[in-house]
Amino acid sequence: MMTSYLFRTLDAKAGVFVALLLAVTLLVPVLNLAVPEGSFFHVPTYAVTLMGKYLTYALLALSVDLVWGYCGILSLGHGAFFALGGYAMGMYLMRQIGTRGVYGDPVLPDFMVFLNWKELPWYWYGFDMAWFAFLMVLVVPGVLAFVFGWFAFRSRVTGVYLSIITQALTYALLLAFFRNDMGFGGNNGLTDFKDILGFNVQEDTTRAGLFVASGLAVIVCFLICRFVTRSKLGKVLVAVRDAESRTRFLGYRVEHYKLFVWVLSAMMAGIAGALYVPQVGIINPGEFAPANSIEVVIWVAVGGRGTLVGAVLGAVLVNFSKTWFTAALPDVWLFALGALFVVVTLFLPKGIIGTIGERYTALRDRRASARREAGVDAEPQPQPAE
């Protein structure tokens, strides 16, 4: 039983990918900590945090690919779940500051002190405990996703309508978190973190640790996604994506399937956010910005929708080029990035991985069709609609 699960999850290709990820996850910290500064192989801390950030983005992309690539739910609001996970972590980190804030208040974060807040709002309770905060990282996005999904899927909101209300959702949250009355630090968000689980967030070792954590998180979630998508459930999801009503006539409760994968994906996004915050050192409402969510979709599209690996790749690639461009050609980098998106769409319609895969299957088909008996002509089929 277990073995068959394992076999289902890990085929050769996935195996290679996981191995590679694992290698990077373990190698980079070593090169950062063990190898001396001067050496060619030394990886500066700067690069470690940077790649750590990429990995969290990769995880976010993975979660989007799961719902979009396999279930056809185009979420333009996944940034919301990411940010919520981030805030949960941020609140924990804030509470860890304790009396080291500029006002030295043992309970209240600085922004509450100088806005004359008298005591901690109820929803901040418990976040001084790691286990509770980490639980919230999953629960908060999960619950929001469940409530939102429950209504949306039951009333059969689909296509662009769904996409737009996910956007409305994140936009509403954006505005809400901007309000200082909300007690999340308004536009400044949560920042100036000191330590996490007792380790100083500015220590190289801590950064390395966070990097490893992110790497492992990506690997685990990747495997989970594989397990889900390769299962019979996965097949049903694809069926839903391609012909929703037909799936209903087969007796599958489409809304339940959507809800399941939607919540799962939201939780992954939450984890991504939680790992993101301590590495970049700030969480603020900007993360809710609809533009961010749209960008995530673009990472997935660039890498190759519905290929998991593609999502990871796309996220890393796009963000790497972003980093590169913003430093290399600060004045015109937007041209480069924009052009990248346009070019990818026009010339790699299935994304990088998707296109490669297509070439491969095309090759295989040509071999096969040689053997295939004559008289059967495969008529071209339209693209599955979103």
């Binding site: 909101v157 662009v160 737009i164 409305a168 509403a172 901007f178 309000r179 673009i298 924009g338 026009l346």
Partner: protein, 547 residues
């Protein structure tokens, strides 16, 4: 805005004298050395702080010489300068490089000087008010009714009892009814601050209350706190009456605000209703098309400023077609080079157009710089008029009108012209349309161009109320999608109703919930509404839906 500062009082008293002097000897102001007595007073204006200046003005006025009026006007307009060399004060007006000096008293030309040789005599808002009030009571008898009106309004604001006699004389003479009304108000205002009997004051309260506007309210509130006894009570009842009526007017105001916000949303969204609603392109570059329209307006105005300033009031009419063409052309280009490869893959259009929007933004940023550009309102678009108790600003009004015209025009094009017919044919059944000999590629290009063009002219309108900067489009893209989806994709009427609904809902929430919370509530409302009607306000029914 009533000030009972002793200073103001006493020097207004002197205006009375001045006024009498005017009525006695209305002859031409004799430009001779009889004014020289004032010279030191005038020159004194150059020294001291604002309080001193106020005292100096008062002193000047006390002289009772009408010639000071022109000096004061100059002072208010900031045209009064002191010559550094000898500390003499002149009225200076820009002349070429330097300034042309004229003697404030004799009006004689005093030659030209360079900017650095003279210092401006500064005035602030308070001094301006002081001068206005005094000039007001001075010009109550002007032969020009508009001047009299302005004067009456100034006096109303000042509400100074000292000018009562002047007012009453003026009233007696007054022929123009509009002016008379205001003067009555002014008289009442002045009377309330005078030591006249309560009976008169009660009538005065009635007169003022009859105006029923904010100024009246403000004046009465001031009175209520200042006096006691029957007057205070009368004022109190009047206040409550006014407040009641104003409360009603506020609702009307909200509706108007809602409609005007709605039409802004409509303008922003209507282009998208075509590119996205009709053609199914998730057009993230829509906002940039709007922005480009706004920049076209900017360029047009720049050229006009430079070459033909007299055209300025028509700048928008010139900008409209140009904006349509420019944005439209870009739209056609985009369709030809990008979108057309992506039909049937709406998601990819999202990706490509997003990239495109980044490029367009950066392009504009490199071309025009990242800062806001100035787009002026033509005269007919500035200012406001009162409709009952609601103030309607011209630019908002014209934008509402404009939005309606655009909508109507678009409807006409789509429903009445063969192009519209083709468009609908193509978007409904591409293959069939093609087989009927419609050149679908061109229809696609033109339709997209139309949508973009509409976005462009929306930009012209938005340039009148919002920033013209590379970020302009970003501010509207989300709202636009909300409107289109809320209204029901592919249905222009839906877009219209959707925009207006959201606008009005927003504006009714804002006073209670505040701007931020209001917007949030609107978004939540949209989310819930879509649950109720998964295909928007005006959804298509029947088998077509599933197809």
């Amino acid at each position: 805005m009533i000030f009972r500062k002793p200073v103001a009082m006493s020097f207004l008293k002197t205006f009375l004298a001045l006024f009498c002097l005017l009525t006695v000897a209305m002859g031409p102001v004799r430009a001779d050395d009889s004014h020289e007595a004032l010279r030191p007073l005038v020159n004194e204006l150059a020294s001291g702080k604002y309080d001193d200046t106020e005292r100096q003005i008062q002193a000047l006025v006390a002289s009772g010489d009408p010639v000071v009026a022109s000096t004061l006007q100059a002072l208010r307009a900031g045209d009064l300068y002191v010559r550094k060399a000898d500390g003499l004060v002149f009225i200076a007006r820009k002349a070429g490089k330097g300034f042309a000096l004229t003697d404030p008293l004799t009006g004689a030309d005093a030659g030209e000087v360079a900017k650095r040789d003279i210092d401006k005599i500064k005035v602030n808002n308070k001094l301006r008010r002081v001068i206005d009030a005094s000039l007001g009571s001075l010009t109550l008898l002007s032969s020009d009714p508009t001047v009299r009106l302005a004067a009456a309004q100034a006096v109303f604001k000042a509400g100074d009892p000292e000018v009562l006699d002047v007012l009453e004389t003026a009233l007696a003479k007054e022929t123009d009814d509009d002016v008379r009304v205001v003067m009555e108000q002014a008289r009442a205002a002045a009377l309330l601050n005078s030591d006249r009997g309560d009976a008169e004051k009660l009538d005065a309260i009635e007169t003022i209350a009859s105006a029923g506007n904010r100024d009246a309210l403000s004046l009465l509130i001031g009175l209520r706190s200042a006096t006691q006894g029957p007057v205070s009570e009368a004022a109190d009842t009047a206040i409550r009456r006014i407040e009641k009526s104003l409360a009603l007017w506020d609702n009307a105001q909200n509706v108007w605000y809602g409609l005007s916000l709605g039409s802004v949303l409509l303008l922003a969204a209507i282009g998208l209703a075509i590119t996205f609603g009709v053609m199914g392109v998730i057009n993230m570059a829509h906002g940039e098309m709007v922005m480009i329209g706004a920049y076209v307006t900017f360029v047009v105005q720049e050229i006009i400023r430079g070459s033909a300033p007299w055209l300025f009031d028509y700048s928008l009419f010139i900008a409209l077609p140009l904006a349509f063409l420019v944005s439209g052309a870009i739209g056609v280009g985009v369709e030809r080079f990008i979108i057309r490869f992506l039909y049937g893959r709406p998601l990819e259009t999202l990706l490509a157009t997003w990239g495109l929007s980044l490029i367009l933004q950066q392009a504009v940023r490199s071309l025009f710089g990242p800062t806001n550009r100035e787009v002026g309102n033509p005269a007919w678009m500035s200012g406001a008029f009162d409709l009952g108790q609601l103030t309607i600003t011209y630019n908002r009004m014209w934008i509402v009108v404009f939005a309606m015209l655009v909508f109507a025009g678009l409807m006409l094009v789509l429903k009445r012209t063969s192009f519209g017919l083709f468009t609908r044919a193509v978007t409904q059944n591409r293959r069939m349309a093609a087989s009927m000999g419609i050149r679908t590629p061109w229809i696609d290009a033109l339709t997209f161009g139309l949508g973009s063009g509409i976005a462009g002219i929306a930009g012209v309108a938005l340039s009148q109320i919002d920033n013209v900067s590379p970020n302009l489009g970003q501010g509207y893209i989300i709202d636009s999608f909300m409107v289109v989806v809320f209204g029901g994709v592919g249905n222009l009427w839906g877009t219209l109703v959707g925009a207006m609904t959201l606008g009005v809902v927003n504006k009714f929430l804002e006073p209670y919930a505040g701007a931020v919370l209001g917007k949030i509530l609107v978004l939540v409302f949209i989310i819930l509404f879509i649950q109720k009607r998964p295909r928007g306000l005006f959804a298509l029914k029947g088998r077509a839906v599933e197809a």
